[in-house]
Symmetry: C2
Subunit: 363 residues, 2 copies
């Protein structure tokens, strides 16, 4: 069987047929790459194969050019080591959320690390195995590529781009510290906050607004996956969590004795540091000098939002972000539209002329 | 001047012409209620008056039926006390975020507390003074009403409904504990998390996904307002923050010695407690048994989203929630649609038939 393809790797073997592995398989099959699959669970391979993500590795199959290890963090190093052994000519990558431990483990076990490239796709919604797999899971998402032999790194870079992702170069240590800050510590703090809700009264819960919902949203993540991630990156997470502890201790001291010198300024300093920190986030979700938002009141009936967006489309307005919110039982909802700051005033007056009610303006 | 109105109070005097005061004024003027305004800053009154929120209290004006105190938390008790004195026949309400201190202060200073009703509208986006005021700021928002003489409480209940809000009865102490949990502690934890971002590298920041953005969004809130709120509710916040400290300490201990007995289960317990807590939140934003979400890939051009929503409207599909997200620089975005669980499969196949790409399915 000959395959004509411009893909950077013509034959790819994927170990681990969960969401990530199966999604990579689907995306590669779209490019006519030959994809073979393996998994500790034969039924996982069968399922992913049914979905069109590749076929079970047949005995005597030609050796793959690339092996993708997409298994849980707990076993990723061992499976990668064994893949480097089993496929002595292939480039081997993994897609695990924590990287330094794998590089260390491979070095310690004398694996042929020259053929290894550690990677991490920042693809959200990591739930549900092959059944949730999508060929465009990686579209427009960052995909970290760590240290490697330059030639292989370049090919993995092309590979990642061919899946629609944006490659980002970082060392394994740099990556692990970055995700400890940007993903793992927020996960734990979200869980810590959500844990407080367990014994809340129904009437207290009825006051839930956007703030608590946003802070605790990721607390709904899968504990089985996260326990592995947190363990694998314990040191870096511990450093950031130590900073959290210092701030919480200082707050508790200040709250316990508001009259003491420095108590009020300690609270104010923390709130200002929060302002400064969130403004560091790129894009349109933090405090932005480029974008502004308008909150439009809409009736809670089908078609209303479509009408609003049709008008915006007719006016040539490009939405940067859109969020719909309404309280249970309310007859109206709010569409929170984010547009470029230089058009917000014009959009607002056009909306008002067209009979829409504007409930507010943010930032 | 005679005013014909069914409003529960015919003459309302508002002290404090900021966002809340001016918004109440605008909403009341829509009902032809006579609204007078006062503020420590004469220019604030002039501005709110220009917006149509009422007029400056003229000398010799007939006494108001209701006085609304809408001043910053720091001065709310004193202004309320003085309003009870200045208007000896009026019902007086406040709209401050923390309630017990005001009841205590009024009792201690011998104010005529029988005419006082403490209230708190849970209206978000509390930014920007009268210039951001909207007559529908309170539409479909909870508005807490605390202990009061039954007759006055009933009228305030009607008043709150007339502004479009949903009244919720709670004692002042119950309210303060509830907002400490549902609003104040999340605010501080969001600030604590965001504070960690101050010295993050640009490459680390480029990994920012939905998780960190959600957890830190409210860290952009106004420190000047929040320092007052936190001080006024220090005790209740302190209790919840003590629970946070206990969890953080336990995590740090576990992360510092993963091999020790109980370390792994401590991390797992916290993640499970987070799952349980977030599932307590009412409505559609937590883990839901009623709603499901579909992620649809859309081109980042005007009109695409309108087309999607027009189709959904044509099919009679009511969106419970909608969120648009796209990475800066990407050619496609994702519309995260929340619909009733019993229609999600049908909606998904209709969308696919109509040529839409589904990028994923959540919960």
């Amino acid at each position: 069987m000959t395959t004509m393809t411009n893909a950077p790797f013509g034959r790819v073997h994927i170990i681990g047929a969960g969401l990530l592995g199966a999604s990579i398989g689907l995306a590669l099959r779209d490019q006519d790459v030959v994809v073979t699959l393996a998994d500790a669970s034969p039924s996982a391979v069968a399922l992913a194969s049914d979905y069109g993500a590749g076929v079970a590795l047949p005995p005597g199959a030609p050796a793959p050019d690339l092996v993708v290890v997409a298994v849980p963090p707990d076993v990723a190093m061992e499976v990668t080591r064994s893949a480097l052994e089993q496929f002595p000519a292939a480039t081997v990558i993994d897609v695990t959320s924590v990287k330094a431990g794998i590089y260390e483990g491979l070095t310690q076990t004398g694996a042929d690390i020259a053929r290894f490239v550690g990677t991490h796709p920042m693809a959200g919604r990591e739930r549900g195995g092959a059944v949730s797999a999508r060929s465009d899971l990686f579209t427009a998402r960052p995909w970290v590529i760590c240290e490697a032999e330059e030639d292989r790194r370049q090919r993995v870079d092309s590979f990642v781009r061919s899946l629609g992702a944006t490659p980002i170069m970082m060392s394994a240590n740099e990556h692990d510290r970055a995700v400890a800050l940007m993903s793992h510590t927020p996960q734990l703090l979200s869980s810590v906050m959500a844990a407080r809700l367990s014994d809340a009264s129904p009437v207290a819960l009825s006051l839930a607004g956007g703030g608590i919902r946003d802070v605790t949203r990721i607390a709904a993540s899968d504990p089985a996956l996260w326990i592995q991630i947190v363990q694998a990156n314990a040191e870096a997470i511990g450093e950031y969590l130590q900073g959290v502890k210092t701030d919480v201790d200082r707050l508790l001291e200040a709250l316990g004795d508001l009259g003491a010198t420095g108590s009020r300024s300690a609270i104010a300093d923390l709130l200002h540091a929060g302002n400064a920190g969130v403004s560091q986030l790129p894009g349109k979700h933090g405090v932005s000098t480029t974008f502004a938002s308008l909150i439009v009141v809409i009736d809670d009936t089908p078609g209303q939002l479509a009408k609003l967006l049709t008008q915006l489309g007719d006016w040539g307005v490009n939405l940067e972000d859109l969020r719909l919110e309404h309280s249970p039982g309310a007859n109206v909802g709010f569409a929170d539209l984010t547009v470029k700051k230089d058009v917000v005033a014009e959009v607002e007056s056009k909306l008002i002329e067209s009979g829409w009610r504007i409930a507010g303006e943010a930032k």
